[in-house]
Amino acid sequence: MTETKKYWKGLDELTAAPQFVEQSQKEFAEHVPVDKFLSDSEATESKTHRRDFLKYLGFSITAASLAACETPVVKAIPYLNKPEEITPGVANYYASTYFDGYDFAGIVVKTREGRPIHIKGNKHSQITGGAVNARVNSSVLELYDAKRGKAPAKKVAGTWKKGLEWSTVDKEISSQLSAVSAAGGKIVVLTGTLMSPSSEKAIAELAAKYPGTEHVVYDPISSAGILRANAAMFSKSAIPAYSFDKAKVIVSISADFLGGWLNSNQYAAQYGITRKPDGEWMSKHYQFETKLSLTGSNADVRATIKPSENGIAAAYLLKAVGGSVSVPAGLSEGAKKKLNKAAAELKAAAGHSLVVAGSNDSGVQLLVNAINKQLGNYGNTIDIESALHIRKGNDVDFAAMVSQMASGSVGAVLIAGVNPVYSSPAKIGDKGDFKTALSKVKLKVYLGDRLDETGAECDYICPDNHYLESWNDYNPAKGHYNIAQPAINKLFSTRQWQESVLTWSGNSTSFGDYVQSHWSTAGLVSGAAAWNEAVQHGVYIGHAAPAIVVDDKAPKKADAANVEMAMASAAAMTSNEIDLNKIASGFKTSDKWEVELYVKAGMGDGRHALNPWLQELPDPITKVTWDNYATMNPEDVKELFNIKGEGYEGHNELYLGEKYPAKVITVTANGVTLELPVYPLPGQARKTISVALGYGRSITSGIAREEWQGGLYKEGALIGVNAFPLISKDFLFSNTVDIATTTTTYPIATTQTHHTMMGRKIVNETTFHTFKNTADAKAPGAYNEQELLTDTYGKKKKPEELDLWEDQGIGLGHRWGMVIDLSTCIGCGACATACQSENNVPVVGKDEVRRSREMHWIRIDRYFSSHVNDEKVTELDQLNSIAEYHTAEVPDSDDNLQVVYQPVMCQHCNHAPCETVCPVAATTHSQEGLNQMAYNRCIGTRYCANNCPFKVRRFNWFQYDSLNLTQYPDFNKINPAHDDLGRMVLNPDVVVRSRGVIEKCSMCVQRIQHGKLEAKKAGHAVEDGSIETACAEACPTHAIQFGDLNDVNSYVSKASKEQRSYTMLDEVGVKPNVYYQTKVRNIEQEA
C-alpha cells in the first residue's frame, strides 16, 4: 500500500466544504457591499440622470484641466542649522537595544531626517546575533502612537488634570514620598525585570533618600519557577544559558522557545543553525505540549499532553533516561510511546541534548533539571554559570507585596514598566486582585507611558519615554553589556522613568549622563572614545568588570504566613535536599477541562496591543488576526456543541469565515467568567482549551471598527478578551476551568482559507535519511522529482524546454532572486512585519481581513499534513473524510499531524503571467529579473491578480493612506498612515499607494537601487550580501536569502542549484526567481 501525504490549510479544505470550494475559486471575496461603504443612504437613491452625469463629467474634466494649469506652489524648507550627521535623503543607522521586560534584542534603528522608520537586528550582539521577532521590529510604530501620555497628569477628586508641568508633580511627589518615609511607611518600586545596572542604581538612590523603599520585580509572564528550581538545585536564582545550536536532541515540554519563551530571539537564531540539513547532523526536536504552538509546529515529533500532565511527562522522561523517580498516573499511550523514543535518543546523545520545560511550576523545572543533569548536559548545552538575566521577577515577592498593600502597610507605590492591574491573576495568593490591594495605598505613582489599566487606578501619571527616546544599559548575561541610545528627540513632554526616580532622589543628572558616569566609575569603559565606541556598536563585551554586574541574587524567602504557594514542590523546595519523588507524586491529572494560557508570537504579553501591525499579523498557526479565542480540538467542539453530521456536513459548523462566525463558550475559573469564541484547532490536547494572553486591553477600545459594522461588534468593544485573570493563584499559566456553551456567535477574521494553492503540491518535504542518501533528487521517483510535460509529439520534456514566451534577456547584469529554505523557516512572521515597515503596507483592519482584503506583501502559508493511504485519498475526495481526520488527529495515534510553513511573496517570474494580461503595461519585467509594478500606470482592472498562479497581488480597495477622516473614518483608527504623527513611520523611499491600484512585493527594489548606487559610487561590483530585502534581513533563522542569481559566487546562485531546490509550480513554466528548498524532517520513515 503506497502512502501519500495530503496537505490542507484547514479543516474546510480537508473536507472540501462547499463554502471553501466556492471561495477558493475566487481571487477576491465577492459580494462587495457597495451600499455599506457608501454609507450615505441618499447616495444610493440619488436621482442623477445620465445626461446630468455627462454634464458633471464634462464640467469636472474642464475644471480639472483648468486647475492643472496653475503651478502648484511647493515649499522647500531647509534646516536653519543643519546637524552635521543628517543629510536629507540619506538614512542614518543607530545601534540600540530593545528590552521591554519580555523580549530582548540588540537592534539597529534606521532613521530618515531624524525619524526612526525601521528596526533590524544588530549583528554585533553576541546574545541575539541580529535576530529580532515581529514584536521587536514592529515596536517602531509605537513611537508614533498619539495615545501615549503627553505630559504629567494628576487625579484630583476622581478626574484627571492633564498637561501639568514636571516641576509641579516633582515637588508634590517628592514631598509626599518624604512624608511616607518619615512616618515609617513602606515605599515600593514595582518594575518588570530590569537587568539594567544603571536603573537599579537609580532605584538604590531612591532607597537611600527614602528609607523603607523596597524594589519588587514582577514579570507578567513569569518564569520564577525556573529561578526557584535553580536556586534550590544550584543555589543560583537564574535562567541558565541554553545552547540550542549544540543540542543534537531537543526535548521541549510545553516550552514555546521559538515564540516567546525567555530569550526566544536568541533561541530561534540558534535553532535555525542545526535545522539546516546540509551539515553532518541535524537536530531532532521532540515537543510535548497542549496547544499546537509555533515551536511544536516545527518539531519532528510531537505529542499532546494536558497542562496538568507537564510534571508527569517530565517525571516519565526522567525515569526513562535512568533517573529514579516514581511516575504518577496520567499521559496517553501515544505520548508515552514518544517519550520513550525521546528518552532513547536523549541517552544516545547524552551531553549533546537539551530538555526544556515551559511550566512555571518549579517542581516541573526541578525534574527537568534532574533530566539534564542525568544526561550530563550542564556545561555542554546548558551553562548555569553565565546565566541570562532576562527574567528576574519573583511571584512570591510580588504576592507578598500585594498582601502588604492589601493590609495597608504600604504607604507609596511607584509602578514602572509593568501593568499589573491588567496582567495579574484575579486571585493573588489568598488575597483578591491587584486592583483592590492597590486602592489601599495612599500614594500611587504610575511611570508607564499612558493612561492604561494601572494608570487609571493611580494618583499621578508621569509618562515614560518611548524606548527609542531613551538611554539605557543592559546586562543580559554575565560579561555582556548592551546600550540603548535615543534615536529621536522626545516627541512629547515625557520623561524616562529612571530620570523621574533620580529627580525624586534629588539627583538632577540626565539618565544618559548617569549611565555614562556609572559605566566609567565602574571601570567598564574608560574615556570618551571607548564610551562612544560602545554606544556606536550598541554592545560591549567586558568580562573583567565585576563592579557593574547585576548579580544573580538569591530569592527572598517568602513570608509563609502571608503567602501560601500551593505548589506541589513548595515543601520539597524549602528543605535542603530535593526529594524528586515527593515532587513527582504531587502531580495529578484529572479529566476536568483545563485551560492553557499562552503567548502569541504576534502579541506578546499585551504591551503591543495598540500596535496595528501586530494586531493584523496572522497568528502563525491559526492565521487569525485582531482577536484571541479558545483553541479546542475539533472533536471536542463537535461533542460540546452536539454536532452530529459526518464529513463536510459536520464540518460546516467548524468552518470559520466571513459568513461563518465562531461559536462562543463561557470559561469560568478563579471566580471569573469569560466569553470566548472557539477556534477548532487540530493538534490540541483533548479536553483542553488554550487562550492567548495580551488581548482585551482597555486601551484598545475604539480601534475596532464598530460603527461600520451595523452592530456586528459591540460599541467600544475591546480587541479580544483579557485572559490574565485566569492565571492560577500560584502563578501557573494553566488552570482547571468550567466550560459552558452559549448560543451566541462571534465573527473572526482569519486569513487561513484565502489564497489556497488548490490542492497542488506546492511544498515539498523529505526525511533526513532520504535526503542524505539521494544522489539525484530530481530524478523520477526521487523526493524532489521534476514533473515532465508532454509536447505535441508526445515527447516528455522538462518544463524549461517548452515555452509560450520569448526568452527574457536575463543574462545581462544582475538577476535578483531568493532562496527560501523550508527546513529553517519557523513561521514566526518577523518577515511580514519587517516588510510592512519597509514598504508602507497598509493595515486594513479586522473587517477588511474578513473580506480577504489583507495587504501583506509576504504571507506565510501554513499547511497541515497527515499520512493517508490511497484508499483514504479516494475517501477524502468523496467529501466524507472526517473518519480519516479522526485517525490523523487523535493524540493516541502515532500518525500525528505535521506542519509546513512556506513564506510566499511575488515570485518575480521570468515569464510572468500577470505581465501579459495587463492592458496598460503597468506591470512589466525588468532586465534584472524583477516583476515591476508602476502604480501610477495601474488602472485597477485586477486582471493581473486573476492571472497570478501564486495569488500574491493585492488590491487597494480604499484610500488607506487618506488623511480625509470624514470620508474614510474607519481606517484612521487602525492605520498608522492616518494621522500626522503616524505618518512619520512611513518609508520616504516607497510610494504610498492610492485607492484602485494593485500592489505586491517589489523585492525591496528601493534597497536594490540603493545598494547598486552605493557600489557604483564606490566603484566596485555589488558584493553578495550587501543588499538584503527587509524579509531576508528580518529572518532570525536566515531561511530567506536574497542575492544576484547571475553572480556565480553568490549564495543564492549556489543554493538555487542544490538538490533540494525547486521552484513553485515548475510545470506551469513561469520560471520564478524565487527558489524553495525542500523541507527535511529528522524522522525515521518517509513522511
Binding site: C69, K75, A76, L80, K82, G89, T924, Q927, V1005, K1017
Partner: protein, 436 residues
C-alpha cells in the same frame, strides 16, 4: 565704498577656496622662502571666514598683528603666531598671557586648529600678515566689478507662428487680389457693355473658390486641421509642465552673482547632490560661512542679506546671535519655493547622476550661473528623462561596477554595428528604475 569693493574681492576668492587650498598645499611645500603672496592664498582659503585685514569679523582684525603680539615664552612674534595658528588651544593651555587675553577679548569664541598647515605654509602666512593684502591680486580692480544681472537670451519665435503669419498674409493677398481682379474685370465688362459682376461676400467667394479648387482646398483643409490638432495636443501635453517656472523667493538670492560672478561651485551649497537623492537646499549656517563677513549685497545692499540675518537672529554689528543662549535661532523657517518639482511617485537620485554619471548640473538645470532668479529650465517630463537615457552613454570608465555588465552588453548587442553603451542598454528605461 572701498570696504565694499574689498568685500566683493573676498567673495570671489571664496569661490575657489578648495582649488586654492589644493593648489597651495601642492606648491607651497616646494618653496621654503617666505612668500607673502602664497601666504595670502592660504589666508584666503582658510581664514577669511573669521578674519579680515582691517575689520573685526569673528576674530580680530589682523592689521598690525605682528607688532602687537606679546610673544612671551615663544621668543618672537612670528613664532608665537605660528604656534597660535597651528594649535591655539595648546598655546592657551600653556598659560600664555597674551593668548588668553585675546581669547577673552573676543568673547571666548574658539578658533579652529590648523595643524594641517606645513611649517613652510605657516611661514608664508606669517609673511602675509606682515605685508597685508596686495592690491594686484586676481580679483577685479576697483570699478571693474560688474554686478548687473546677466543678459538672458530672448526666446525664439517658433516656426509655427511664422508659418501662421505667412498664411495670414497670403490669405489677405488672395482676398485683395481677387477683389482687384474683379474690379478690373468689371471695368472691362463696362467697356464691353456686359453686366457688372456683383461683389460676392467673402464666404460665398471662398465657397466658390473651394468648389473650383477641390484638390487644393482639401489639402489646405487637412493642413489646417492638423495644425489645430497639433496646437491642441501641445496645449494638453503642456498641462503640468512648468518649463520656465520662476517663482518669487522669500530672499532674492541671485544665482548669477554667487555661481556666476563669484564662481562658487554648485556643490559647495548643494553639497547633498553628491551623496543624496536630493541636492538639498543649503541650510542657513552654510550661508553664514560667508555672510558673517559679507554683509552688503552688490545689488540690493543690506536689504536682502538682512532678511537672512532676521531669520537666524544675527546681529551684523555686534557679530553675535541675538538669542538668549547666543546660538542661531531655530524657531523660524525660510520657506523657499521649490522650482523643480517631480511628482511623488518618481524616484530621482542626484548622486547617481552627479557622482556616478558625472552629469553637469547645467544639463538639467540650465545655466543657473546666468539666472538672477532661478527658473525651471527643462520640461521635467518622463519623455525628457527617457530621451536622455536613450542618448547618454554610461560613464563607465574607471568604475569597476560596470566592468562585467559592459562586457555582457557588448556580447548581447554584438550584432549591432555602432554599439553605444547607453543608459537604456542596462535597464535605464525600465519602470522600476524610477517608480516604486
Amino acid at each position: 565704498m572701498k570696504l565694499y569693493k574689498r568685500t566683493m574681492r573676498k567673495i570671489s576668492s571664496i569661490s575657489s577656496l578648495l582649488f586654492l587650498l589644493a593648489f597651495t598645499l601642492f606648491f607651497a611645500s616646494n618653496s621654503f622662502a617666505q612668500d607673502a603672496k602664497a601666504g595670502e592664498k592660504i589666508f584666503k582659503a582658510n581664514c577669511t571666514a573669521c578674519h579680515a585685514w582691517d575689520k573685526k569679523v569673528l576674530g580680530p582684525a589682523l592689521q598690525g598683528v605682528p607688532e602687537r603680539v606679546q610673544a612671551g615664552a615663544y621668543g618672537d612674534a612670528d613664532s608665537w603666531l605660528k604656534a597660535w595658528i597651528k594649535d591655539n588651544a595648546k598655546v592657551r593651555a600653556s598659560g600664555d598671557a597674551y593668548g588668553n587675553a585675546v581669547f577673552a577679548a573676543n568673547g571666548n569664541s574658539v578658533m579652529n586648529a590648523f595643524g594641517f598647515l606645513s611649517d613652510a605654509q605657516l611661514n608664508d602666512v606669517v609673511a602675509y600678515l606682515h605685508v597685508g593684502p596686495t592690491t594686484d591680486n586676481n580679483g577685479p580692480k576697483p570699478g571693474e566689478f560688474d554686478c548687473s544681472p546677466a543678459q538672458e537670451a530672448e526666446a525664439d519665435y517658433s516656426d509655427l507662428y511664422l508659418l501662421l503669419i505667412i498664411i495670414g498674409i497670403a490669405t489677405l493677398i488672395i482676398v485683395i487680389f481677387s477683389g482687384v481682379n474683379r474690379s478690373m474685370r468689371n471695368v472691362n465688362n463696362l467697356k464691353q457693355g456686359l453686366s457688372v459682376e456683383e461683389g460676392t461676400s467673402f464666404w460665398d467667394a471662398t465657397g466658390k473658390w473651394i468648389k473650383s479648387h477641390k484638390k487644393l482646398s482639401s489639402i489646405i483643409g487637412l493642413f489646417l486641421v492638423l495644425t489645430l490638432a497639433k496646437i491642441g495636443w501641445d496645449a494638453l501635453a503642456g498641462i503640468g509642465v512648468y518649463e520656465g517656472y520662476a517663482p518669487k523667493q522669500p530672499i532674492a538670492f541671485p544665482h548669477d552673482l554667487h555661481a556666476g560672478k563669484n564662481e562658487i561651485d554648485c556643490k559647495y551649497c548643494h553639497s547633498a547632490a553628491r551623496t543624496s537623492k536630493t541636492s538639498g537646499i543649503p541650510s542657513a549656517n552654510v550661508c553664514m560661512n560667508c555672510h558673517k563677513a559679507v554683509q552688503d549685497g552688490c545689488r540690493t545692499g543690506k536689504t536682502e542679506i538682512q532678511k537672512l540675518y532676521d531669520y537666524i537672529g544675527w546681529n551684523p554689528d555686534s557679530m553675535k546671535y541675538m538669542t538668549a543662549d547666543g546660538k542661531m535661532r531655530t524657531d523660524t523657517v525660510i520657506e523657499w519655493v521649490k522650482v523643480h518639482n517631480l511628482p511623488d511617485f518618481v524616484y530621482f537620485n542626484h548622486s547617481q547622476h552627479v557622482e556616478v554619471g558625472k552629469v553637469a548640473c547645467q544639463k538639467c538645470h540650465g545655466e543657473v550661473e546666468k539666472m538672477q532668479e532661478v527658473k525651471q529650465f527643462s520640461e521635467l517630463t518622463m519623455g525628457w528623462c527617457v530621451n536622455c537615457h536613450r542618448e547618454t552613454e554610461v560613464n563607465f570608465a574607471g568604475n569597476d561596477y560596470y566592468l562585467k555588465i559592459h562586457e555582457d552588453a557588448k556580447k548581447e548587442f554584438k550584432h549591432k554595428k555602432d554599439f553605444k553603451f547607453t543608459v537604456d542598454k542596462i535597464g535605464g528605461l525600465e519602470c522600476a528604475k524610477c517608480h516604486y
